[in-house]
Symmetry: C2
DNA sequence: TCCGGAAGGATTGATATCCTAATATCTGTC
DNA sequence: GACAGATATTAGGATATCAATCCTTCCGGA
């Protein structure tokens, strides 16, 4: 004997039931999965922003800084960063603008191609990237609240989705 | 005998290797999972935006419209929508602003609480929501490019993550 | 060889969205 | 009747995208 209003108050499951009720069964699970992805991203991004706030960084700028710190010379052409991080050229420009004004990155002319610009990480930038990574590791990446097994399922499934979308 | 640069060109796996190389093993899988979520959201949101463009809707506005079409009276207080869709009050205000200017929703005074405002879907709004859902179902939700089993794994794991974050 | 157009790289400006903070109004309770 | 809390909005800052622009490089044909 169940009550009309189920105890399950997950809004995504509720939406899925609505989908089935309206005859959209073949899309219901996909809808629920997509909505879950969107919501999960909101959750993790909010945690990331909170962890990064003391360092005056957004996730986009953090990614750029960390990418640069991983390279041999500490510098990359703007376009190459956009390609690696999958962001638009204009976003790279504005993010580097801000990083430059913060003294974490500087723009250098490309040695051989006068069209291109190198973004180069400064010593301050390296230190900031390290400290921010420590915060993210401790406050976000090690605290997802799901099991190691689930984390690996997530990686595997989303890797398939990304591959299918032509990401790599 | 392997070459220095592995054939696996997935940037997220590459980042994970860097994490391990630097001694952040305990955070490496979580980092990869989080980055995968962020990237997967970019991918599906881009597809959603493409599918919704002919209807002059963003995903946020589509969600509001569909939520309203699911209610008995076709109307809800602003705050209630924000709570159900997990978006900030200001986002609800601006989204309803736009929906109202498009003639898809109208603002009505709350019958008993003069503080509150009801957003009410119009007939045009209902028709738009239906057409947009058909497009999303066919072009996105049924075309994720992963197996039904993987879709359900995704739902389950992300449900755990959301529950753990206090979502429901 | 040279020259002219196609393509690449980066930026700017315009637009839309989201978030934070502050504000105005209203409700309900002590 | 005063005051804490709820509801919605406005204003401002940050970010992402799109289109257009400027400069540079590349390449094929005269």
């Amino acid at each position: 004997m169940t009550i009309g209003r189920t105890l399950d108050s997950d809004p995504i499951e509720e939406a899925r039931r609505q989908w089935i009720e309206r005859g959209w069964e073949s899309a219901a699970d996909g809808m629920a999965a997509v909505t879950s992805i969107v919501r999960a991203q909101q959750i993790v991004l909010q945690r990331i922003d909170t962890a990064l706030r003391p360092f005056d960084l957004t996730f986009a700028r953090y990614e750029i800084l960390t990418l640069l710190s991983f390279t041999k010379r500490g510098s990359l052409p703007m376009t190459r960063m956009g390609a690696l991080l999958q962001v638009h050229p204009t976003s790279v420009t504005s993010a580097v603008d801000r990083l430059e004004s913060q003294g974490l990155v500087e723009r250098l002319p490309h040695p051989t191609d006068r069209r291109a610009v190198l973004a180069s990480i400064t010593d301050t930038g390296r230190a900031r990237a390290l400290a921010a990574t420590a915060a993210l590791n401790g406050q976000v990446f090690e605290q997802l609240g799901i099991t190691e097994h689930q984390i690996n399922q997530l990686r595997t499934v989303l890797r398939a989705l990304r591959a299918n979308a032509g990401d790599f």
